[in-house]
Subunit: 367 residues, 2 copies
Amino acid sequence: MNTQHDAETESLVYDDVVRIMDQPSLSATVHEGNSGFTNQRASLADVARLAEVSPITVSRALRNPARVRPDKRKRIQLAVEQTGYSINPYASALKSGRSNIVLAFASNTMSEQFSLALKACAEVLEKAGFLFLVGQTSYSYERETAAIRSLHAMKPAAVMFTGVIELQANREVLRSLEIPIMETWAFPKDPIDMLVGFSNTEAGQLAAELLSRKGYREVAYIGRRSGRGALRLKGFRTQCQLLGMDLVSEVLVDDITGLSKGRSCLHEILKSAVNPQAVFCANDVLALGCLMEARRLGISVPKDLGIIGFGDSDIAAEIPPGLTTIGVDSARLGNEAGKMLIARLSGEIIDEKTRRLDLIVSERGSI
Amino acid sequence: MNTQHDAETESLVYDDVVRIMDQPSLSATVHEGNSGFTNQRASLADVARLAEVSPITVSRALRNPARVRPDKRKRIQLAVEQTGYSINPYASALKSGRSNIVLAFASNTMSEQFSLALKACAEVLEKAGFLFLVGQTSYSYERETAAIRSLHAMKPAAVMFTGVIELQANREVLRSLEIPIMETWAFPKDPIDMLVGFSNTEAGQLAAELLSRKGYREVAYIGRRSGRGALRLKGFRTQCQLLGMDLVSEVLVDDITGLSKGRSCLHEILKSAVNPQAVFCANDVLALGCLMEARRLGISVPKDLGIIGFGDSDIAAEIPPGLTTIGVDSARLGNEAGKMLIARLSGEIIDEKTRRLDLIVSERGSI
DNA sequence: GCTGTCAATGATAACGTTGTCAAATATTAC
DNA sequence: GTAATATTTGACAACGTTATCATTGACAGC
């Protein structure tokens, strides 16, 4: 490798910058207000002095403009712009016990579905002036517990989870926070507070029905041991029995990230006494791993082995022969959750605190 | 669809809970200290009263135990546990002007590479007691600017970006914050502060060399118009020229998320006067989209068309015929960045504020 | 025993905002 | 015009922590 290269080559980035900075619209956004960059931040008192009102009036003008007379409001607005004032969220949170941060915790930030939902939710909430931040729990109860404990100190405006909280103690901690809590991705009968989800049991049932309709008789399951995976398995198992199919193999795993996991799971399945003709994977990553490994082993999909996934990931539609998958509209889920949170945070009386989304079956070539 | 289903079905989640809660180790973690859930939080003063010291001593014992005599330290520790005290981060941040939050902004949280890096970074920082939170900028200068403005109010302990900051005004805002700034994913000669990155220009050069070595003569490029894409293109273009290859088509796009984009780009390329025999895609998602579409169109990879991607995504190795791709070890990048931040945040004098990672070429069947 | 130095602790005063309540002003009713 | 009410504004104190400076006590050196 004899590539001539040094750090300077990359300075193009900054050549680009100059070009970009020439566009007045953007630089205006940045320079708005306070000309230059004063390190000393303006406080409410500074704004108040300039606008010739008391600090508390400034505070009101910013938080609830209707309660301040138009002329003063104008003066205050002007002063805010001149000083480049922005509220100190720490002081505000300290005094009021509230913050404008909405925290979301994802069990796995690498999941396409969760990312889509969180992105949609972020867009809604940021438009409403909230700061939407995401933390990770990595499917670990310990980390989830730690995250929830940190909430007690943070007291965000609201919290959202890509899942439901299972540990009773954590549920109580969350309830004691007295802030809106949004659970998702399942449909328990007793959510902590708000819920935008769907039935995982039904997803399992649908998978069984699809396979039965296609004439499969011996089937297998791959998925997580706990949480939603367990629910999907439950629905699958029940419906298999009902429809007279044999669930000949259940491969239960803890970690489901990475395609290699799906591949090794397929090997597990092939070890079972009775070889199944189809497998339901509790997520698309596992399903794709199976699909890849099947091809590698010369197993024809769907002739020798049918595969159903869950999640309706981007690639499921694209990869030959097309992965049949059950899923929800994740972006819609995030959007709905965001809108519900905003309604609640702005003090509206919510008639419905839960929302159930329909499952979407995308039937493709893999079964 | 006649699936019998109602919300109750999902209550399995909570049956699970009971089982989980029976494990003493976990419930202990939750119940630690303050027995039950007092809504009224304990303050430093409460702890101080119980330990019979002054509040300031408690503060010191928690932040810098070495400065407090062992006997008092013990008493304080005990009092903290009895009261279930946890520090109020808002009060702390208000007074000290610092916080224990480390913010990261990802240009695209749905990217496997960014997710991997952020996850690795989060692990390191959380172990050191920081709260690692992620926001999104969605490759938009407006949102990036908004995010950076919000930093001014938040004053996190440090900030990290999955990229370099291009707008000069934003660079200055960041510098004025006087907190550690971590840029990544490129290797500019004048980073704002800290940097863990690699050369995108070199990535383009490597791609050209690979193709040249395989005997390709007419090649094409697909990628983003700006930022890192532009750098990869620059390196690719330069090296093509040097090696006597013809860059017959450059397809420049703004949005690179989603496989369908790669598919439509392939069509663009096929429209060009001279059909290229190989294409370098500035990321793996685009490359995979091309690969899928090529197969759909009956174009054989690599016989009729060679494809190189960037990012070394999970699926690149798995999908037949195997996607040749150039990338970095994202998890390592995140880990290094996290460790550098911690060193800096704990006041160590850092000898090296930048770190350059090697590019990894994974040669597979697609060229 | 006296002075100087260092470690350990504490008293006081903020940080910048907002909740509470009171005062001032404007508006309406009679 | 006066009284009653509603609207708008402000004074004050507090949220829980930490920076600063002052104090105390311990210990060494002479």
